[in-house]
Symmetry: C2
Subunit: 577 residues, 2 copies
Amino acid sequence: MKHTVTFFPGNKTVEVEDGTTVFKAAVEAGIETGGNCGGTGCCGKCKVIIEGKCSGEKNPHISDEEYAEGYRLSCTTEIRGDLTVLTSVSGGSKKIASFYDEVDVSDISPLVSVEKADVQKPSLDNSEADFERLKRALEVEDLQSLPAALKKLPGILRSNDWSIKVALCDNSLIDVIPKNKSIYGLAIDIGTTTVALELVDLQTGKTIEAASDYNHQIVCGEDVVSRMIYEEENGQKRLTELILDTINSLIEPFKNEIHAVCIGGNTTMIHMLLGLETKSIRFEPYVPVTNFPPVWRASDIGINVFCDAPVYIIPGCAGYVGGDITAGVLASNMQQSENPSLLIDVGTNGEIALGCKDWLLTCSTSAGPSFEGGDVSCGMRGIEGAIDCVKIKDGKVEYSTIGNTEAKGICGSGIIDTVAQLFLDKKIDKKGRIKGGVFHLTEKISINESDIENIIRTKAAIFAGCCVLLDAVNLQFDDLEKVYIAGGFGNYLDICNAQVIGLLPPIPHEKFKLLGNASLSGAKSCLLSKDKRQKAEGIAQSMTYVDLSSSNSFFEQYSSALFLPHTNEERFSITGK
Amino acid sequence: MKHTVTFFPGNKTVEVEDGTTVFKAAVEAGIETGGNCGGTGCCGKCKVIIEGKCSGEKNPHISDEEYAEGYRLSCTTEIRGDLTVLTSVSGGSKKIASFYDEVDVSDISPLVSVEKADVQKPSLDNSEADFERLKRALEVEDLQSLPAALKKLPGILRSNDWSIKVALCDNSLIDVIPKNKSIYGLAIDIGTTTVALELVDLQTGKTIEAASDYNHQIVCGEDVVSRMIYEEENGQKRLTELILDTINSLIEPFKNEIHAVCIGGNTTMIHMLLGLETKSIRFEPYVPVTNFPPVWRASDIGINVFCDAPVYIIPGCAGYVGGDITAGVLASNMQQSENPSLLIDVGTNGEIALGCKDWLLTCSTSAGPSFEGGDVSCGMRGIEGAIDCVKIKDGKVEYSTIGNTEAKGICGSGIIDTVAQLFLDKKIDKKGRIKGGVFHLTEKISINESDIENIIRTKAAIFAGCCVLLDAVNLQFDDLEKVYIAGGFGNYLDICNAQVIGLLPPIPHEKFKLLGNASLSGAKSCLLSKDKRQKAEGIAQSMTYVDLSSSNSFFEQYSSALFLPHTNEERFSITGK
């Protein structure tokens, strides 16, 4: 009996015989799982997360908790049914392409503020209780203490001679710590494909560490809809565990110092994180449980930071326009501008916002993950070894990689460059047909017709979404003050090439501005600034959602855009590099 | 080798050989442990809680959780060291002597209010999220949802055709339930010896069930100081578990319907419940962690009711004057009166409050548990079978029992009656010496000189405390408008007899008012009324604590009161019944 095994990252599928080890299947698929003990289960380095039927004894390298979440050693696990496998779950890389304009930290009012408290020592004449004494020192009369802080208070006060530091969130006492200890905040972007986070010093606003990893939920489906289907069939528990596992493994070394968390993410990811069912998002009329998640404690959610750390989630606007888009608008500041601008967020979905200080429209297209390296045979996310910039002239290829290391695959900006350059070099036609069916960038790294088909579908969906929003308010691309681009591209996107393939409209280059990972920068802004948190709420409240699934006009626009650059070539004034 | 085994209730101690079963030791001590299988461990009915060294296999009648808390079957457990044993842990009696003036329920503003919500159904034109939709229906703009409610919301809305009931605490959504389901509140009095509670309908204010049990912590010490010593030597964990176990076994049948909890108790009991260390209460300057515990969620504390139910704890004033006294003042309303009144709370400690609308003084005496049936050989708490009323004339005894059943022991009011009547009948002298050393009320129930000694010490401490407070403001007993008596006596206390033994001062009977279990009535009041909660805070804030441990005057007054009725007989105009 044969089984189908699909590996992430890379989305590579192989067919193998029943009983084959996952390790062997990975070798067959050309996927590196790590491991250096010859498949004996000794080194514990070929850890993967598996969804599907498999067998094999529990290995001591896998904890009980990990085992329950589907962690296995690939070398000792035999394939017994169709599987999805996530490799590279080693805890994420510190080198991430989460670039964005540096967040303004001149006026810090963080979600959790740190203050010194010099508390008067008690005596027989003044036997006020510890907590009431602390309130007096802080001059916060209606201060309320969360459990952990109150339990620690008497010990900390007495072992630090009544002079301590406190962590406060509004009128809640979050923690009490010795004066010399630091308190950090955590900004997280939960993408459908990638989770990126930064550890931030709450007093200086500086980022201390950054890390990212694939969203481990990927083994349950590549896009939000397939994860919602997984939820319907198998319950939500594992999806929640997998996203928590992604975050918790990245922050392990700092977990106890983290006292505040801010999260940007799409509505489905946020629902799965919080344990809110997504069924009603999936079906008409696409209603989330909430677009304005309350501030809960980290331990309520299961994020392994200081138990009572408040978790602020950037509010969203609809089932398919989440807090990540609010964060993009916040980063662009387009909601304060006189003239309309456009925001395009290129992730696994493509979300678009159009507007100015008086109004904001948004929509979402199921673009697909091509520009995040998904759905493309040699695609990868923008980490070390990814080809991020490509030039092709007369079939000759020049490229650069992130970190200037050996090329391992192609990330979003490299994919756009490749398709545009091949088109300009006349190696592919306007329908995306490629001469010879495949083009090699290196010996191992290539792009084929099926890849290009996916890329064209992605760019067409995004472009069509922009057109529908503009049409709704009778505007043209030329009327736009700015076009902001958010998403995993970082600083690498070549605007020209993006225009060549028809992803971006042919307007002057100076109108474009790359925001980088706006969801992460928004999370960091909101972590550090009360003003930004209030602005985010205002943006989420004022956005009007346009449902493309019921829009005929969207379908027409999409069909017209399924060409390079577009059916209507006159709309594009192609300029090569 | 011999070991000492002490049984509660009853405080009976026996010496037995190493290896004796607890069951046999109980029989020797004349204590009923239940059980009807002949000591084979089959019936599981002789369950006790043990503190100390013992051995024996874990019996299937004991759950893992119970085992960890020291539950054992007495018949299969062998004594291996000095032990303390709490018998009768079957889950408490429903017949309790928790009498108090009925709480006014005309104007209910409960800790958790229940409201109907008719929520508009969503459509493609109106795809607002569920929670935002609910906010609109309730017209509470800043509504925040606790985790459980938000997780349940989408399912409950859709399965109840968008018409539901909600439980709210201020602007927090606690729970969402179908319209036909009920929501209850829980009022608890945590006494050092006894825990009493009532299940209250939050919409009508009516008490639906009442129950009480010994505070299971009794195996770790009879009074607050010995429990604090236990905490110092063994950590607080088990004390917290034992009080939670006491509460949780009493409420088991109703746990899921309980959505609000209000608690009255002394400062030490509250600290042990909340997991706050008591070390600084025990030593000078006797500083608690807090006198105003924050409202936490039940699951934060470990009370097994609806997880997000808020727990309100009546604030106290000092380490030895807790929320139970605040509740007593609240029940008396003396804090609003023009002229000073006195409140005496007779529990394991004797706390006293003196004051009027302009000022309030309080103090605490380590009275001992005599009037709760402790420290007295045939003492018991005021439940069915307790002798509560005694007349003795020429050695002939008449008595009544609670529930008019066979006499099992003597409760507080019966103890006072017995001593007073014996004194009037000249069977004991003013020093408490008894003719023949013992007096039998029935064949099995008697009172001896050691009992009377304890009773005299208890009443002397309370009386001395009253004198010190009055002296502090230059008042006499005659200046008092009222004398309120709170504590386990309920409706049974005979004022005359209490004056005969010198517990109460010789002032006109109409000035006395029995409040019953004011801590429980206060908890019920605060559960049902915002005004009462605010008043309780006001009382706790305005009480001034007088420390008797450093008072010479207290020691003098105490020594003078160690007689029947008092050294200074002229202070007492004795009147018999």
